[in-house]
């Protein structure tokens, strides 16, 4: 029997959760509306019926409580998977995540492990209301003690979720909600590459676009469109934000000699700047242009009627690629 099935990303995550719940009695799910309703995105659909109300726990409407109690359960030996309903609702739990979850292992000199997984549907382009479309990854990446991954395909979503749950460290999974219904093949027997490494998805020679999560399909489409202009674009799926596989990104940038980093989050103070600095440190002499960033603006996420002008798209990525060609080295 083949273990390869075509399914949307949301269902790949459901499958990963089901498989981990079945594999380890100490894995628990907790979150708002994840039981009978199956979560607002139906990612936990059917799991409470299958595993019971005590392993798929409907929580009070309290994000700090969800993460704080997950920490307590993890301290006792459980592996809680906490769902935060939307990116913008993670902030009531910010203290528990950054001052408690991230630091507990270090504070206790490694004596207390807190294997909490936080599932965070994130990003925009869903035409929703305020607080439902944000990309807060840089805020968490700046906090030592957290691991942060962002899948871009159903296969990655399945394996990253499983790897996050079995990791002894706290892991935040940024689930690109606009890609929940993106279909792809999921092989539940052969693992995807290590969740904490980047991956070259498309080889190219003229420039690299490095991105993660929801913008990976956009970058692949941009690379395809650039082919018409005789530009050969390499696409790197960053996949893991912390740790950051700067080696793979820099290797690609050194090869193509031009790098564009894209994310939905605002560029100011964002991951793009961190990546630009790291690539410059590793491959400055190989680059023909500065690393360019494509991202959101330094503003609150705008009303959805304007998100098409806020979010990076194919054209914004290609504009950056062309701009990187406009730089001339030396005199």
């Amino acid at each position: 029997m083949s273990a390869i099935k075509e399914m949307p990303m949301a269902k790949a995550i459901t499958a990963a959760l089901r498989d981990e719940l079945a594999a380890d009695q100490r894995t628990l799910l907790i979150g708002e509306d994840i039981g009978a309703l199956g979560g607002v995105f139906r990612v936990t659909d059917g799991l409470q019926a299958e595993f019971g109300t005590h392993r798929v726990i409907d929580s009070p409407l309290a994000e700090s409580g969800i993460i704080g109690t997950s920490i307590g359960m993890a301290m006792r030996g459980y592996r809680p998977v906490a769902e935060i309903q939307f990116d913008g609702f993670v902030f009531p739990a910010f203290n528990q995540i950054t001052s408690q979850l991230a630091k507990m292992h270090s504070r206790t000199d490694g004596k207390v492990k807190v294997p909490v997984t936080i599932r965070l549907p994130y990003g925009g382009h869903i035409g929703s209301v305020e607080h439902h479309s944000e990309s807060p990854e840089a805020l968490f990446a700046h906090t030592a003690g957290l691991r942060i991954v962002a899948p871009s395909s159903p296969q990655d979503a399945y394996w990253m979720t499983r790897q996050a749950i079995v990791s002894d460290d706290p892991v935040i999974i940024l689930e690109p909600k606009r890609r929940y219904w993106l279909k792809g093949k999921v092989d539940t027997e052969n693992p995807a590459p290590d969740a904490f490494r980047a991956q070259v998805l498309r080889e190219g020679t003229d420039a690299t676009i490095a991105t993660y999560g929801p913008l990976v399909p956009v970058a692949l489409a941009a690379a395809e469109a650039a082919r018409a202009d005789q530009r050969s674009i390499e696409v790197v799926d960053i996949r893991s934000i912390s740790p950051l596989d700067d080696e793979t990104i820099a290797r690609s940038a050194a090869k193509t000699q031009r790098l564009v980093v894209a994310h939905e989050a605002p560029t100011f103070g964002g991951m793009g700047g961190e990546i630009a600095a790291r690539v410059a440190e590793r491959a400055h002499h190989r680059l023909l242009a500065p690393v360019l960033r494509v991202g959101g603006f330094h503003m609150p996420y705008p009303p959805a009627s304007q998100e098409h002008r806020y979010l990076p798209d194919i054209d914004r990525m290609l504009e950056a690629v062309e701009r990187s060609f406009s730089y001339q080295r030396g005199v």
Partner: protein, 398 residues
């Protein structure tokens, strides 16, 4: 409606007693400040059941803690500690409560539960490790069933609720870990100030909704640094429990016997599956908030003197003495023991080895992390560069 017409006092050393609240709920008291034991049908029997040795142990721990506190304060004044948060005045509240628990019950402390920590067998130098800033913590939580101190207050009340959810789940599935007791309950410590934190609210909601085996132990010492309790709550904190649908009891926290009796009764009920309970222990922080604080700026001498008159140790000693449960020789023996504790502690604290930053690198994550490893390697190379220069300089003096 007298409550509403009460004069609002925000804070400030006005000379009045800030420790009187607009709405009073009489705390349970067995031992009056003059050392007389009252009859009490509900709580009295718990005291009657204590042996002479158990009664004397309560006294001994209170004296040990007070001596530890004084020594820590002087170590800080001598520049040997980064900070100290004295528990002076709160000895009875802490000792009475922890003595009522089983050693297998998990405690989630704030940062001032020194008497409780001592009672659980944490060594003074382990307790002071964080305050000397050699390490963030000095003990293994599982070894003592006593979690590490929490400085971002109230965060630990949610960890306590999560731990209690784990207990319920263990019992449900019959998979109690080998190192845990079957009848474990959880104690979440907080002060009057931290009750204003949102996490306490969320914790109490979880505890109530999931019927968690939890005891909330609020030490109302009347001051959150410089802000009086009435700024945290217009009514007695004990009344909060009612809003969440569980029982709360207000106890005289300077009465070690009442503290013991109330905690014994409530913990037995929690153990019997009756859900969470709350204790508001009314006590007084006789010292400063920390060694960085100056209480004369916000509270009056009269108030301090009033509470010195309610000193928990003197009160209990006078009762032990009058009932013959302890004699002069015993008191002298405890005093001598506390002096030894102080001098031993001084030596062991000064001998504490600081952590190496390499160990901090190694504990940020439990699994390898590329950036952490790279930075650790960089620091090693960087510092090795200085070592080479030093060697060259030394060897270069021809």
């Amino acid at each position: 409606m007298a409550l509403l017409t009460c004069r609002v006092v925000i804070s400030g050393a006005t000379g009045e007693d800030h420790t009187v609240q607009p709405q009073e709920v009489q705390p349970i008291q067995l031992l009056a400040p003059d050392g007389k034991l009252a009859e009490n049908d509900v709580y009295g029997p718990y005291i009657a059941a204590l042996s002479g040795e158990e009664l004397r142990e309560l006294y001994r721990y209170m004296v040990m803690e007070r001596r530890l506190d004084a020594e820590a304060t002087s170590l800080q004044r001598q520049g040997q500690l980064a900070l100290w948060a004295p528990a002076l005045g709160q000895e009875a509240a802490q000792v009475g409560t922890i003595a009522a628990l089983k050693s297998s019950d998990m405690v989630f402390p704030t940062y001032r539960e020194h008497a409780m920590a001592l009672y659980r067998g944490i060594a003074p130098e382990e307790l002071l490790t964080m305050f000397r800033a050699t390490r963030h913590t000095g003990w293994d939580p599982r070894q003592h069933n006593f979690q590490v101190y929490t400085l971002v207050l109230a965060a630990q009340t949610l960890h306590a609720a999560g731990w209690a959810m784990g207990i319920n789940q263990d019992q449900r599935t019959g998979s109690i870990p080998r190192d845990r007791a079957e009848d474990e309950i959880v104690v979440a410590c907080i002060g009057d100030g931290a009750t204003s934190q949102g996490d306490v609210h969320e914790s109490m909601v979880f505890a109530s909704s999931y019927e968690l085996p939890m005891l909330y132990f609020i030490q109302n010492n009347h001051w959150a640094i410089s802000v009086p309790t009435r700024t945290q709550s217009r009514g007695p904190l004990v009344n909060r429990a009612q809003g969440y649908g569980f029982e709360g009891v207000r106890v005289d926290g300077n009465d070690v016997l009442a503290s013991y009796a109330v905690a014994t009764k409530l913990s037995a009920e929690i153990r019997a599956g009756k859900g969470p309970k709350l204790i508001e222990s009314v006590t007084y922080r006789m010292g400063a908030h920390t060694t960085a604080d100056d209480p004369t700026k916000y509270r009056s001498n009269q108030e301090l003197e009033l509470w010195e008159g309610r000193d928990p140790i003197r009160r209990y000693r006078s009762w032990l003495d009058s009932t013959g449960e302890a004699d002069q020789a015993y008191f002298e023996q405890v005093d001598a023991e506390s002096k030894d504790l102080a001098s031993d502690m001084r030596k062991s604290v000064l001998a504490l080895e600081p952590i190496d930053i390499e160990r901090v690198f190694d504990t940020v994550y439990s699994e390898p992390h590329r950036q952490v490893e790279a930075e650790k390697a960089w620091l090693k190379d960087y510092e090795a560069g200085f070592a080479e220069e030093t060697t060259t300089e030394a060897g270069g003096t021809r």
